[in-house]
Amino acid sequence: MAYPRADTTDKIILSGADLHRVVDRIAHQILEKTSGATGTVLLGIPTRGVPLARRLAARIHAFEGVDVPVGALDITLYRDDLRLHATRALGKTELPPGGIDGRRVILVDDVLFSGRTVRAALDALSDIGRPSSVQLAVLVDRGHRELPIRADYVGKNIPTARSESVRVALAETDDGTDEVRLTGGEK
């Protein structure tokens, strides 16, 4: 998907530099909360959760020299809204060697919104293995939850109207751009 061009009414929430600082902070928080991140696996939710998980792992390695395995967890087949949209192409599910049994799994996604994606991810996880615990890291929490789900690590809380969209761009998936923008809404 091409990253949409900026509209003049768009608001930049996180610039590239902000985004890097936020990722650094989450990496530190993970190290702190998990006592050094041993026995931890980062699972990114496609599309943008996967590069985010890789960046977190790289930062954790830079800070403490710990190698945290990274994988991808596609949740398309577990979505509860499949019937409401056109068929989606599947993403990749790739578990790191050693799997997730008995490990602390940290799910990584770009935006936390209704919570339905995370619900689907929890269902997918339970079919794949039995982690010792599951945590959630998101770059942006925009509110409007429809399920009782809360993130353990939040890059930035952004109060939004439902009519607005949060657009996350990452260099790996969006032609080298790193930023978070708020678009749409009342103009």
Binding site: A86, K92, D127, I128
Partner: protein
């Protein structure tokens, strides 16, 4: 995405590749402890089989069940069909019961096309007469891609009763769409020359198996369909086996990487010898496994969305 899968000609290259890629993701499920996805929960898939088939019906059934769909198996034997019910009336019954997809096998070529006019759900052709068998072609393409790493530019030789073979027809269509080169080989009585050219331009015909073997990447042996042979198309089974059967000596003349395929069920000793069928080059068992993944992909892509 398309609504029905009645013919391999329904698929353009991007759609076919999407199905193969989706199947690759579905295949990962087979290695898991819980071989089940909630994707098609609440959807109903009817297997409507007017012709005997073990492998295809079980494959579709397993695929639908792994996606959590409700499966209704309907076999013409012992049903109202034997009391004279027409295909249309059966279709209307299925429509009234709310079937989301109907997987149909029928001895009449074109039955799936007719069925698609009568019901709202998706129709998947699981073999109609001597016409087509698109999911078989998809699983064959999947198997070739996973063994050889690509499809474009492959030399695929399809050997045997092309005249009666829906598998051959679907394979010619799909493989040409995906950029492979197909050569049909068999006795002249069993290769409709004009049809071969009309199906897909570029399809070649040869009556000499030994001449085409050395350049083949894939050799696909077709079953000799004795049940469809009303006339004598070749002098004797022995002569057929000698000229067009794949034995160990012929297999050794294949390139190092070449694979041997067969859609099953096999007539061991006629079109293929046991030594070849059970050799590491043969993908016959793999094809069955891949069939489930490919059919899961088809059902998901037809039924998963709005």
């Amino acid at each position: 995405m398309i609504k029905h899968l009645r013919s391999a000609a329904d698929l353009d290259a991007p759609t076919a590749i999407l199905i193969l890629d989706t199947a690759a993701e579905m295949a990962a499920l087979a290695g898991r402890e819980v071989k089940k996805l909630p994707t098609l929960r609440g959807r109903t898939v009817v297997n409507l089989f007017y012709e005997d088939s073990t492998r295809t019906r079980i494959s579709f059934e397993a695929a639908a069940k792994r996606l959590s769909a409700d499966v209704i198996n309907f076999s013409a034997k012992g049903s109202s069909v034997s009391k004279g019910e027409s295909l249309k009336d059966t279709a209307l019954t299925l429509q009234a019961m709310g079937a989301d997809a109907v997987v149909i096998r029928h001895s009449a070529s074109g039955a799936p096309h007719r069925l698609a006019n009568w019901i709202d759900g998706s129709v998947v052709n699981a073999g109609d007469g001597t016409h087509e068998h698109p999911t078989q072609a998809l699983l064959d393409a999947y198997t070739m891609r996973s063994r050889l790493g690509r499809l474009a530019g492959l030399n695929v030789v399809i050997v045997g009763d092309v005249l009666h073979s829906r598998v051959a027809r679907s394979n010619v269509l799909l493989l040409s769409t995906l950029g492979a080169k197909v050569t049909l080989v068999g006795p002249p009585t069993l290769i409709p020359l004009d049809v071969a050219a009309a199906l897909a331009p570029g399809t070649e015909v040869s009556y000499d198996l030994d001449a085409v073997l050395p350049t083949a990447d894939v050799v696909m042996m077709l079953r000799v369909q004795t049940e469809r042979m009303q006339d004598s198309f070749f002098p004797s089974a022995r002569e057929y086996a000698r000229r067009y059967g794949l034995d160990a000596a012929r297999m050794h003349r294949l390139a190092e990487h070449a694979i041997v395929m067969h859609p099953g069920p096999m007539n061991r000793g006629m079109e293929i010898t046991p030594a070849v069928a059970d050799s590491p080059r043969s993908t016959i068992v793999e094809q069955v496994t891949n069939g489930v993944s490919v059919r899961m992909a088809v059902l998901y892509l037809l039924l998963g969305g709005k």
